[in-house]
C-alpha cells in the first residue's frame, strides 16, 4: 500500500521555467511534509518542509503548496536551472512521539535543459 503518491515520474523543463511536482497522501496522522533532493550517488538532502497549519511555504526559488482537505502538496521550482537537475522525493511523517520515520514517494527525475 503506497501511502504517498508522487507524480510525474519524470519531468523535463527549459532553463528559466517552472517545475511542478505533486504528491498525495492517505494517512491523516501525517503532519510533517519534507521534500528531498537527491543527486546520483548521493544521499537525499532536505530541500524544504511544511506543516499542515500553513498553506504555502517559500524558500528562495522553492515553494511548497499544501491542501489539507485534499491531502495533497506540491513543490514548485521557479526559474529552474540546469543545476536543479536531480531526483526529487516528497515524504511524510507523523510527529506525535519521537519516531519520525519518513514515508517517501517514488521520486521525480527532473531534467532542466540549458
Amino acid at each position: 500500500q503506497q501511502q504517498v503518491k508522487q507524480s510525474p515520474q519524470s519531468l523535463i523543463v527549459q532553463k528559466g521555467g517552472i517545475s511542478i511536482i505533486n504528491c498525495a497522501y492517505e494517512n491523516t496522522a501525517f503532519d510533517y511534509f519534507p521534500w528531498y533532493q537527491q543527486f546520483p550517488g548521493k544521499g537525499p538532502a532536505l530541500l524544504i518542509a511544511i506543516r499542515p497549519d500553513v498553506s504555502e511555504k517559500k524558500e528562495g526559488r522553492f515553494t511548497i503548496s499544501f491542501n489539507k482537505s485534499a491531502k495533497q502538496f506540491s513543490l514548485h521550482i521557479m526559474d529552474s536551472q540546469p543545476g536543479d537537475s536531480a531526483t526529487y522525493f516528497c515524504a511524510a511523517t507523523g510527529t506525535r512521539g519521537s519516531n519520525y520515520k519518513l514515508t517517501f514517494g517514488k521520486g521525480t527525475l527532473l531534467t532542466v535543459n540549458p
Binding site: K42, S98, L102
Partner: protein, 113 residues
C-alpha cells in the same frame, strides 16, 4: 562539521553470504534511521533507534536483517544469508531528538550476485 558517513560505499557479495554495513551519525544525534532504496524507488524505512535501543524495527523485511547501536552512536546493519533481492542502496540518517529533519549519509550500495 562532519555529516553522516557510511562504510563501505560499495559492497559486492555472493548469495548466501553475511554482510555488515556501518553508519556513523552526526555527533550528538540521538535518533538514527536505516532506509533501503531500490533502483528507481524512494527510500523505505527499515529501523529506528533512539539512543541504544531499537524503538521501531517494523520495516525490517525478515529475520535475516538485524541492526545494533550498542553505544548510542555508530550503528551496524547486519544481513544474513544474503539474497539477490537484497541488492539496493542502504541509507542511514540521523537527527537530534527534538527535530524532525533527518540528515542522510551517502549510502552503501549492496550488490548480491
Amino acid at each position: 562539521g562532519a555529516g553522516v558517513s557510511q562504510t563501505p560505499s560499495n559492497k559486492v557479495t555472493e548469495k548466501g553470504k553475511y554482510v555488515e554495513l556501518r553508519c556513523d551519525p552526526i555527533s550528538g544525534h540521538t535518533a538514527l534511521y536505516w532506509y533501503r532504496q531500490s533502483l528507481g524507488q524512494g527510500p523505505e524505512f527499515l529501523i529506528y533507534f533512539q539512543g541504544t535501543g531499537a524503538a521501531d524495527d517494523s520495516g525490517l523485511p525478515n529475520d535475516r536483517f538485524f541492526a545494533v547501536r550498542p553505544e548510542g552512536s555508530v550503528s551496524t546493519l547486519k544481513i544474513q544469508r544474503t539474497e539477490r533481492g537484497d541488492s539496493a542502496v542502504y541509507l542511514c540518517a540521523s537527527s537530534p531528538r527534538t527535530l524532525q529533519e533527518q540528515f542522510f549519509g551517502p549510502g552503501t550500495r549492496l550488490t548480491v550476485l
